[in-house]
């Protein structure tokens, strides 16, 4: 789109020509995911996860639409329609349901890898700030959708998860409780809450699909980033998306779908919680209320605040949890380093991997019963999370000396050939000889 050497669409078949003249949709597709989109030639496999996220969004929408045909959004019928009707009597209902359940987990797995790819390679930096921010909007919508979807089977964790999460709002003074009641349509999760969650759970994926289109549109203005972080300079630096990246994405998607199939068919309940196979019971609180695994790091941040410092601990927790995601919107301005890729930022790189470990520890801290040890670990790792983004990152970007960047993408790609062609001796001698030859 943005590169002058991008190939324009030339319809081969008369029918395509006919369509293209009236509605240039084939042209748009060709320019977006076809031969008309030049992509840096040096992308590594971390760049495959955006396409994968799109694949899982599609899987979720397709399986979800069919599941919705057999689901009863009533407190009496929900559990039985999922565990009785869909899992037993609907043709391949068990497959749809398990594919949807684990599809959500895989959607989050690939999205998390995609986000961390962006963090490492500075994908949030100019000129891709809006790409990054639209991505975060997608992520927030995903979280809302996943939460409401988890409520729909109306098991114990569904009910008590809804209770805890809508309880966030009651942490805010004065307005909190009325907002909570308004959102739930009652004093506790019940018929009204379940029906509206179902309605929104059906709506939001299509909103996500819409924002995905904006995300890709915004991406295609500057074009994809690349592992060196160096801008594309000429045609030598790029390859057309099709067939090069369709082929690369294709085989890799098959490999990830293989992992997804193994979980879905052979360990479908591994990532879930057994308590959600107990029907919701407002009178019996489960021994521990834990959200789905993809919310564990945020759950750890939420419950790490245990001391009423000026504000109530619960309000601190809720504020911190929302901030932990909102702060990512400011990343393009927090990290001032002009170097995009973490590969050329020795100090940043170390802190990046520390952050990855920190988030994994946060997940562990949020995923189990709150013992004193788990709480302490959660508090330390939650503190590090905020320090990393809001204190360490700006300081590193101010004081770090980055490594020299390659002159161009093709320079870095063909580094191997160049090294082979160079003489074995030390560099200065080579220049000397070269000059001598010229003279």
């Amino acid at each position: 789109m943005s590169f002058s050497w991008a190939k324009a669409y030339e319809p081969k078949h008369p029918l395509m020509k006919w369509i293209d003249e009236r509605l240039p949709l084939p042209r748009v597709v060709y320019g977006a995911v076809g031969g008309g989109y030049p992509v840096p030639r040096n992308l590594n496999y971390w760049w495959n996860f955006g396409v994968l996220a799109g694949i899982f969004l599609t899987i979720q929408i397709v399986t979800g639409i069919v599941l919705a045909m057999h689901y009863y959004a009533t407190t009496d019928g929900a559990f039985n329609s999922v565990n009785g009707l869909i899992m037993r009597d609907v043709n391949a209902g068990w497959l749809l349901r398990y594919a949807h359940m684990n599809g959500a987990s895989f959607f989050f797995i690939v999205t998390y890898i995609h986000i961390f790819r962006g963090l490492y390679y500075g994908s949030y930096k100019a000129p891709r700030e809006l790409v990054w921010m639209l991505g975060l909007v997608i992520y927030l919508l995903m979280m809302a959708t996943a939460f409401m979807g988890y409520v729909l089977p109306w098991g114990q964790m569904s009910y008590w998860g809804a209770q805890v999460i809508t309880g966030f709002f009651s942490a805010f003074p004065v307005v909190g409780e009325p907002i909570r009641i308004w959102l739930l349509g009652g004093y506790a999760p019940d018929e009204a809450a379940l029906t509206r969650f179902f309605s929104l759970h059906y709506l939001l994926p299509f909103v996500i699909a819409g924002v995905v289109i904006l995300h890709i549109w915004a991406l295609h203005i500057p074009g994809s980033g690349n592992p060196t972080g160096v801008d594309v300079k000429d045609e030598k630096d790029t390859l057309p998306f099709h067939p090069f990246y369709t082929a690369k994405d294709g085989w890799f998607a098959a490999a990830v779908l293989l992992a997804y199939a193994i979980v879905t068919y052979f360990a479908p309940n591994y990532l879930g919680h057994p308590d959600n196979y107990i029907p919701a019971n407002p009178l019996a609180t489960p021994a521990e209320i834990v959200p789905e695994w993809y919310f564990w790091p945020f759950y750890a941040i939420l419950r790490s605040f245990t001391f009423d410092f000026i504000l109530p601990a619960k309000l601190w927790g809720v504020l911190a949890m929302f901030s932990s995601i909102l702060l990512l919107f400011f990343l393009p301005w927090v990290d001032k380093s002009p170097v995009r890729s973490g590969s050329y930022r020795p100090v940043f790189k170390r802190f990046f991997w520390l952050l990855v470990i920190d988030v994994i520890i946060l997940g562990w801290a949020g995923g189990g019963a709150p013992t004193p040890f788990r709480n302490a670990v959660g508090q330390i790792s939650a503190a590090y999370y905020f320090l990393h983004f809001l204190v360490i990152l700006p300081l590193v970007s101010a004081f770090e000396t980055p490594l020299p960047l390659p002159k161009s993408i093709s320079d870095s790609v063909l580094h191997g050939e160049e090294a082979e062609a160079a003489p074995a001796g030390p560099k200065p001698r080579r220049t000397k000889t070269a000059t001598a030859v010229v003279e």
């Binding site: 052979f266 001391f307 330390i380």
Partner: protein
């Protein structure tokens, strides 16, 4: 702006630090008292069933034995609300047998008297789900010291440990260890409860359901030891929770083979498509004499002209 954000980050970290310090202080000042349940609770004993693993299939004779244990023992208190009589066909019963099992079932299905419109009951038919032993939760509680026997349809999915948990729980009843009472004198099992180290809080309301060998007379000649009956009912409850397990495993094997094939094929296509793109010759200027010789040798070896 970076200053403000840095300040916010420092505040959150600071409040977390205060939370950490106060938390640790409370912990060391008054460490939480150890609980008997933490120390004496046991993870389930390993249990191997025919349905385990990616190629697992149900042992239908075992499921029939498990169903017999359910109908003669468990069904006195536990419902099986998600399972229909017609589902028993999958265990190898004939249509006539299923009809008989349904009409002979100890509780009848609520219905309406066709003449008077009064509430009535009728015999179950294969399309009915198993009628629950109690009319409602209050009736169930009243008959069981206020403990509500859970529905068993999904029990192996609703408990950590699944079938192994069911088997361990049923065979795990024992006298409260003297060691426990010595360490936690206040933790004596209350009357009407029963000590079982596989139950989360050690004291379960359900009295031991399988007490003596031969409690159920198996028709296929299997020796009905307590352990055998517990294993069979666990296997049966895996089926009630996951009746499509065999279809899932079979489809899974096919899908995995298909995707493996697709992955390999896709990878080869990728290698083919990228073959030239990965071998772009870059002009680096004339080589030095020693490297010219090297290059000539390499080209000769590879059979490339030039």
């Amino acid at each position: 702006m970076r200053f403000i954000l840095g300040f916010i980050g420092a505040v959150f970290a600071g409040v977390l630090l205060i939370s950490l310090i106060t938390g640790l202080a409370t912990y060391f000042k008054s460490p939480p008292a150890p609980l008997a349940a933490e120390e004496f609770h046991k993870p389930p004993k390993p249990l191997h069933l025919a349905s385990d693993g990616p190629f697992g299939k149900f042992d239908k004779r075992q499921l029939q034995r498990g169903f017999q244990v359910y109908s003669e023992v468990c069904s006195a208190c536990h419902s099986l609300e998600l399972v229909s009589f017609r589902d028993l066909r999958e265990l190898g019963y004939t249509e006539a047998e299923v009809k008989k099992i349904a009409s002979d079932w100890k509780t009848q299905v609520p219905s309406i008297n066709p003449d008077t419109g009064e509430p009535a009951t009728r015999k179950a038919i294969p399309s009915d789900r198993f009628p629950p032993p109690f009319a409602n939760e209050i009736a169930a509680g009243a008959a069981n010291n206020n403990a509500h026997p859970p529905d068993l349809s999904l029990i192996t999915k609703a408990r950590e440990g699944g079938a192994a948990y069911v088997h361990s729980l049923l065979t795990g009843y024992q006298k409260q260890p003297a060691e426990l009472l010595k360490k936690f004198p206040g933790s004596k099992t209350p009357p009407n409860l029963h000590y079982n180290p596989y139950f989360a809080n050690l004291n379960i309301a359900m009295p031991p359901p399988l007490t003596t060998d031969g409690q159920v007379q198996y028709e296929d000649g299997t020796k009905p030891t307590v352990d055998q009956m517990a294993t069979d009912i666990a296997a049966f409850l895996v089926w009630t929770a996951e009746p499509n397990l065999e279809a899932r495993h079979a489809a899974g094997v096919a899908v995995v083979i298909f995707l493996l094939f697709g992955t390999v094929l896709g990878f080869l296509a990728y290698k083919q498509i990228w073959y030239d793109a990965k071998r772009v010759v870059r002009v680096t200027g004339p080589l030095e004499p020693e490297n010219q010789a090297k290059s000539r040798r390499a080209k000769a070896k590879a059979g490339v002209a030039g």
